[in-house]
Symmetry: C2
Subunit: 202 residues, 2 copies
DNA sequence: GGAAGCTATGAATGATGGTTCACTTCTTTC
DNA sequence: GAAAGAAGTGAACCATCATTCATAGCTTCC
């Protein structure tokens, strides 16, 4: 025996991997999936193209990790807001607001997560995360119906509509980076959300 | 002078071109943009790969034409329904119903038009057509507001939300081809639409 | 110091798929 | 029927990247 990974070495490797993922995320946010070639990402991380394969078996695997991490953060935030105490309708409204603000804060990434053309593996992941968004929304809508504050409806469909609606509304401003109107956008989006779920017009 | 295209020949060429577009549309509807290679499309049309370039300068140009024709039909239908006489809200509801039924009727194509990953040129075209859907919806929402039947709102945003919502709701059933529940889906979708624009709960 | 075993490199490799082009086939005109 | 010119062919070409691999450089441990 003449070599064993020392803890420090292991940490170094993990850090390198994390750094790679972080840089890849930035590249994707800036230029989109299509332009984020292995060498572009490697360059951004300051390593050789071949070294990417020390950490990931394929480009697709790296892309999926990038997506999972970034999208996972959003799901988590959304979940926290939606599971906070309070009225379901109020929580929904807050969730949409938070989601929108975060997306507008980091437009490039939001676009990559929501809509940008991507390789099939990422596309599949996107479907999965949409399902999660939808479940979270659906839960809140169910609660609202259960407590009689929302009219009878198919919660799953409303939830799907809601996530589609939010995505579409955000994606367009996402393209054109002028947004002094963030506040108005957020206000309209939450208002639309409330109408969409059938909350009583204040 | 020893050769001039005879009218019949011109017609033959146009027909060949149309046939190519039609076959390409079918291929795209069946296997998606990514799998619709030039040779696959040429095979489907019964011509050689090289012959595609007699009619189009590039694959992208053909893809754009396929998209434009198919999406154009939908915009036209939507426009007709939305511009028909009657209450704006009623027209909106009818439009969503017609749109949904047509999409569910031809799922593959609808998915290709709405959501399937595509090359950048097609993506740009998709944005353009979304804008058109949105304008059509926005018009109806404006009218509804003008006649006092819909609450004050930003019609453009509502319209964007509406098209995003409809797309999202349709795309999932579009993936899984089991739909005995078309009727329920359509009913829920129109109900959601009415809530979304703020139509008075019947 | 040096052997063993790992990580890092980046040029070479390979697969994919759009595009070209020398050639064949068909149409027109005389 | 033959010349002129267009359309049609499909194998070869080429560009783009993801991936590999022989090599170099480090770390560990005795």
């Amino acid at each position: 025996m003449a070599y064993r990974k020392t803890p420090a070495e292991i940490r170094r490797l993990e850090a390198a991997r994390e750094r790679l993922v972080a840089c890849a995320t930035e590249v994707v946010a800036e230029v989109g999936w299509a332009q984020a070639s292995v060498s572009a990402v490697a360059d951004a991380a300051g390593i050789a193209a071949g070294s990417v394969y020390q950490h990931f078996p394929s480009k697709a695997a790296l892309a999926v990790e990038v997506f999972r991490l970034a999208a996972g953060r959003e799901v988590e935030v959304l979940g926290e807001v939606l599971h906070a105490p309070g009225e379901p309708v109020e929580r929904l409204s807050r969730a949409v607001e938070v989601f929108a603000r975060r997306a507008l804060e980091n437009r490039g990434l939001a676009y990559a997560l929501l809509a940008a053309p991507a390789e099939p593996a990422v596309g599949a992941e996107r479907l999965e995360f949409r399902r999660r968004y939808r479940s979270l929304f659906a839960e809140a809508v169910q609660e609202g119906m259960a407590s009689g504050r929302l009219p009878r409806q198919n919660g799953e469909i409303t939830a799907a509509a809601l996530s589609g609606a939010i995505g579409e509304v955000l994606v367009d401003p996402l393209g054109a980076p002028e947004s002094s109107a963030v506040e108005e956008l957020v206000a309209e989006l939450t208002a639309m959300t409330l109408r969409c779920v059938g909350a009583p017009h204040n």
